[in-house]
Amino acid sequence: MALIEIRDLARAYELDSGRVVALDGVSLDIDEGDMVAVMGPSGSGKSTLMNLLGCLDRPTGGLYRLAGVPVETLDKDGLAALRNRRIGFVFQQFNLLPRTDALGNVELPMIYAGVDRRTRREKALRALARVGLSERAHHRPTQLSGGQQQRVAIARALVNDPSLLLADEPTGALDSRTALEILALFQELNREGVTLVLVTHDADVGRHARRVVRFRDGRIVEDRRQEPLDARVALEAMTRETAA
């Protein structure tokens, strides 16, 4: 069964200057364990789709089922619970709490899940270990590099064991090497079973996904599967080059 099922999903904004259709009747299934790159020009509706997939926004038309749950039927608290347990977000700007250390940031979703303090600490440390940041647990965001901050954000997204990881331009603020490291991490997580949808402008980033969905003017114009590049291989090549 598909983890994500959307049918004729639409999102329009009513503005004084007229109606803006950001998403114009999109139908899409995404299977569990897939890794999908959502691509397309600026303004084509990629972020709009992600917000709808992440239950941060409500569609103006169409249907959306996440793991069989019809999202339209949920109220605000129901959506919050769904985001909390089933979805992890990774943002371009990381969005870490500035006054809180890495560990505290990773614990945040579990606070809202009502997880007790000890378990929270254990799971957060495990999530940080998973993204390779065990020694940075007590660093604040300002004491971390961009790549490290994004790893913390990924650990935070993973900590409640979500079925779906949504990343809107996760490498947009990173240099190409760090971006590759993050992609390698994503691929590793995907191999472990995490379903991933990531938005990118960058065709090189898109090459690392199993499936590419291309948008234009709020509609899907291309949907294809591909053999993904392995980010680890590219990283090793890069390391060799620098060494030489």
């Binding site: 992440g54 941060l56 605000k76 608290d77 709490l97 809180t100 809202y112």
Partner: protein, 410 residues
């Protein structure tokens, strides 16, 4: 979100902007300090009145001789006393609700015992004194009516005098010399402590009225039967005011004053004086209460303002929290707790300052310090309520934020 987490997050937000938080708390600090000081001063004043009444005797009026006009020339007060012990007797006999009328004369004398001598106040009294002042003996006995009538040369010592002249010895049946007259000590008065005006009331001796007038205090009083003042004790507090009016009529009649003549005596309701003192302390209390109310209000608005700023500054944080699963009510709770923590911290600082001020005022006024734990609890609780009340609107705004809009905000 569990309370403890919200509280931790609140503390971290407050300390992150320590200066701003401190300035924001100022209104609450002043308000609470004023509340604490108000309550302390109010109850201090009430206590003072109680103490005054207790040490003087309840339901007491005092009559003093006043302006004597002789042939158009007004003589100074006390030049010749117009009040006699017969007036006192008449008051006791004829005025309803009077339980005692104690005439007395006050003087000063050197009391000698062996090699010791002590200068002290001398009260020439009659047996009503003990009733009016609610003051009896600790050792020995009171004067009996015969001793008073005959003006016998016996004396009761105040505690301070007894201690200074006799130390640990029992003074009863010993002799002391006052103005070279040997007085036999028949007892020692019970300790009374300080008067409302800070005098040691135990630093005095007491002799029968006539003995005092004739032998100790001076000829002025001995000639006629005049006295220095009369304490009049009433049965009930509400008897005092009408009783005083009747006493005035009685005395005018006894002193044969014409309708155009002023009173040659003065009456004072001591309970009323005590109540007036309490009333002015009450006025101060109300003033402080007004200051407290205004500054709690201003403090509350300050908190609301700073919380609105904080919500705006932390819009992205709110968006992020919503994205990772916070419900609107979690956000509401978080900001409410932050406002309440801020206000309560302000309240705690205010309590500290208020307690300090209360002690300072009590010290200056010579009251016992009266900071009640209840007042502290109420003040802290109240400042917390101010936080909840004024924090609610900003918290509501935070909780109503749209997660996407919030995340997009810079």
């Amino acid at each position: 979100m569990p309370l403890i987490e919200a509280f931790r997050s609140a503390l971290s937000a407050i300390t992150a902007n320590a200066l701003r938080s401190g300035l924001t708390m100022l209104g609450i600090v002043i308000g609470v300090a004023a509340v604490i000081a108000m309550v302390a001063i109010g109850s201090g004043a009430r206590n003072l009145v109680d103490q005054q009444i207790r040490s003087l005797g309840a339901n007491l009026a005092v009559i003093t001789p006043g302006n004597v006009t002789q042939g158009g020339a007004r003589l100074g007060a006390g030049a010749a006393s117009t009040l006699t012990d017969e007036d006192a007797l008449a008051i006791k006999r004829e005025i309803e609700g009077v339980t005692a009328a104690a005439p007395f004369v006050r003087g000063q004398a050197q009391v000698v015992q062996g090699a010791q001598n002590w200068s002290t106040g001398v009260f020439a009294i009659d047996e009503d004194w003990f009733v009016a002042r609610e003051w009896s003996v600790a050792q020995g006995r009171e004067f009996d009516p015969d001793e008073i009538r005959r003006g016998e040369i016996v004396v009761l010592l105040g505690q301070t005098v007894a201690r200074n002249l006799f130390g640990d010895e029992d003074p009863v049946d010993k002799t002391v010399r006052v103005r070279n007259v040997p007085f036999r000590v028949i007892g020692v008065m019970a300790p009374k402590g300080q008067s409302a005006f800070g005098q040691d009331q135990d630093d005095a001796i007491f002799v029968p009225l006539d003995a005092g007038r004739r032998r100790v205090i001076g000829r002025n009083y001995a000639k006629d039967r005049s006295v220095g003042s009369v304490f009049v004790k009433f049965e009930r507090e509400e008897d005092i005011a009408p009783g005083i009016q009747r006493i005035e009529a009685l005395l005018r009649q006894r002193h044969r004053l014409g309708a155009d003549q002023e009173n040659d005596f003065a009456t004072r309701n001591l309970t009323e004086i005590a109540n007036t003192a309490a009333a002015s302390a009450n006025t101060l209390s109300w003033l402080l209460a007004a200051v407290a109310a205004v500054s709690l209000m201003v403090g509350g608005i300050g908190i609301m303002n700073i919380m609105l700023v904080s919500v705006t500054e932390r819009t992205r944080e709110i968006g992020l929290r919503l994205a990772v699963g916070a419900r609107p009510r979690d956000i509401l709770g978080q900001f409410l707790i932050e406002a309440t923590t801020l206000a309560t911290l302000g309240g705690a600082v205010g309590v500290a300052i208020g307690v300090g001020a209360a002690y300072a005022v009590a010290n200056m006024a010579g009251w016992p310090s009266l900071v009640s734990p209840e007042a502290i609890a109420v003040a802290v609780l109240f400042s917390g309520l101010v936080g909840v009340f004024f924090g609610f609107y900003p918290a509501r705004r935070a909780a109503a934020l749209d997660p996407i809009e919030a995340l997009r905000r810079e």
